[in-house]
């Protein structure tokens, strides 16, 4: 499988194609992936950002056969394209009921059918099962294409980069729990919201868990150098392996690590100063 080119249809298997939005960048990799599932009546997962170009690429692929628009979550690169797509096709909008209010969300998102964990949507030729995976976003759903064991992961798992956990809506403990949950499903492949298909789902989930726990260890060890410490003092120590241009993004995930450790009673915070518990770790 080669590079991702926005607007070009990439066939994933006999039932699924991928069309990537023209919004490549640091946070979006090659662009947001929209997936079209089905042969007659079609479902679309993640319409992507508001974009005329992407809308016409999607309409070109689905014609009048689109019935369902599923959103994994309501970050601005995933769901805002739904409005125009729904207007053009009359398709029904599905997603998590509650949209968080943290200023990073698509405020117009109101699903026609609100989904909860375990809900199964019968789309005629195939079935999609909602898997609630909070962490990156509290309203994040992955969609399991039953029978194919293909999981549409949105921003729960991306290919090419790690996802950002941005408090208050982003939650590191929930994220790790949601990664562990993937291990309880039989999975053949992950179709991520950004990047190429991942053909080693469980290995990838385990790798991501180990990666985050290693980072958490680094957070705790950073207090050897400075205790108490401000977030911005910990940042260059904990992320000394990351390019400084990633530090503003890393800062948010660092905050998420600290909140997780705080809830576990391993660090405390007073007026912006974080301190590792004297009892050690």
């Amino acid at each position: 499988m080669g590079d991702i080119v926005p607007g070009v249809i990439a066939r994933i298997n006999d039932l699924v194609i991928r069309i990537t939005a023209p919004n490549p960048g640091m946070m979006t990799g090659p662009g947001t992936n929209s997936y079209v599932v089905g042969k007659e009546e079609l479902a679309l997962i993640d319409p992507g950002p508001e974009s005329e170009t992407h809308l016409s690429a999607l309409l070109g692929a689905v014609g009048k056969r689109l019935r369902w628009i599923f959103c994994t979550h309501t970050h601005l690169d995933h769901s805002p394209g739904a409005r125009a797509l729904k207007a053009a096709t009359g398709a029904q909008l599905l997603g998590f009921a509650r949209t968080p209010a943290d200023g990073r969300q698509d405020p117009d998102f109101v699903p026609d059918q609100a989904l909860r964990d375990g809900d199964i949507v019968d789309c005629g030729g195939f079935r999609l099962r909602a898997v609630h995976t909070p962490g990156h976003a509290s309203n994040h759903l992955c969609y399991l294409l039953e029978g194919q064991a293909l999981l549409f992961t949105g921003d729960h798992v991306m290919q090419g980069s790690t996802v950002v956990i941005s408090p208050p809506d982003g939650d590191m403990a929930a994220y790790l729990h949601s990664l562990e949950r993937l291990l309880s499903f039989e999975l053949a492949a992950l179709a991520p919201g950004h990047g190429l298909v991942i053909e080693t789902p469980h290995e990838e989930a385990r790798r991501l868990i180990a990666h985050r726990l290693k980072r958490e260890r680094k957070v705790l060890d950073a207090f050897d150098r400075r205790n108490p410490a401000h977030l911005d003092e910990l940042l260059p120590i904990v992320y000394n392996d990351a390019h400084p241009r990633l530090h503003p993004v890393a800062r948010r995930s660092l905050h998420a690590h600290l909140i997780k450790l705080q809830r576990e009673g391993r660090v405390v915070e007073t007026e912006g100063a974080w301190m590792r518990d004297a009892g050690g770790c």
Binding site: M26, G29, P30, S161, T162, A242
Partner: protein
């Protein structure tokens, strides 16, 4: 996105004083050339395996591999760049930067010598002879001590071919223009840096960024001596890696947007 490893390469700027002032030798690549077709360039090319050989090093005048590698800040094999610069100068431009056993620069002004070295050059370019063996057979040493290292360019990521190129300057030995003949496949010309820049500004002289920046640097000097002195005085030679933005602009370090353009992070490839 594939990320090709740049190949080691050497470029040599040959300079001379003329009545019009400082001039530099430039070639125009064939339009069939795979790399930079039709472009005005300085002689140069990728390093050959033979450029790193012990035999090549033994022929280098006044420079050993440890010193050369120290100047280039590479772990070893640095002298190969000097050898390649001397070889490309002869193969591509017909200018031989070599000394005879007494240490004098080879001039090549006898008709018999000119014919012999022309034949050598054709044999080299036809792949029938090997440069180091030829120099050894002619009892010549490579005038590596006359080359001044002055800049370092790396082809941007995403280019179909990538080179890690070290730039050298040397005064061309007088009278060697005689080696050119009508079998040349590449057009040669001695140009004043300022004139080349003016022609480029009018769209008549196609050049890539490293060539252009080199000429801008050269145009600030009146004579070969002044230029070489200024180049020798450069303490730091930072590697310059231009970057291509998503909309196809080429940026140099320091240009606005350079930091974000075309980096792995900029393309969304990172793990934190």
């Amino acid at each position: 996105m594939s990320e090709l490893t740049p190949l080691p390469a050497a470029t040599v700027t040959l300079i001379r004083d003329s009545e019009a002032g400082l001039e530099v030798l430039m070639l125009q690549r064939n339009f069939q050339s795979g790399f930079m077709p039709g472009m005005h360039v300085f002689p140069g090319g990728a390093l050959d395996e033979a450029d790193y050989s012990a035999q090549a090093c033994a022929l280098c005048s006044g420079l050993d591999d440890a010193t050369a590698s120290g100047i280039l800040r590479v772990r070893g094999g640095g002298l190969g760049y000097w050898v390649a610069a001397v070889r490309e100068s002869f193969e591509e431009a017909g200018i031989l930067l070599a000394c005879d056993p007494d240490g004098g620069l080879v001039v090549l002004d006898e008709p018999e010598e000119i014919d012999r070295f022309r034949a050598h050059r054709h044999a080299l370019n036809a792949g029938e002879k090997e440069f180091i063996a030829l120099c050894a057979a002619e009892n010549l040493r490579l005038a590596t001590d006359r080359l001044v290292y002055f800049s370092h360019w790396i082809t941007p990521q995403g280019a179909p071919r990538r080179y890690d190129t070290r730039f050298f300057a040397a005064r061309a030995p007088q009278a060697q223009d005689a080696l050119h003949d009508n079998l040349e496949t590449i057009a040669h010309q001695w140009v004043a840096p300022g004139a080349a820049l003016a022609a480029h500004a009018e769209g008549r002289f196609n050049m890539r960024t490293p060539t252009l920046k080199t000429l801008e640097m050269f145009a600030r000097h009146e004579t070969a001596d002044a230029l070489l002195e200024a180049l020798r005085a450069r303490q730091e030679v930072p590697a310059i890696l231009p970057r291509i933005t998503r909309d196809g602009r080429r940026l140099l370090p320091g240009d606005p947007g350079y930091e974000e353009a075309d980096s792995a992070e900029g393309r969304g490839k990172w793990e934190i």
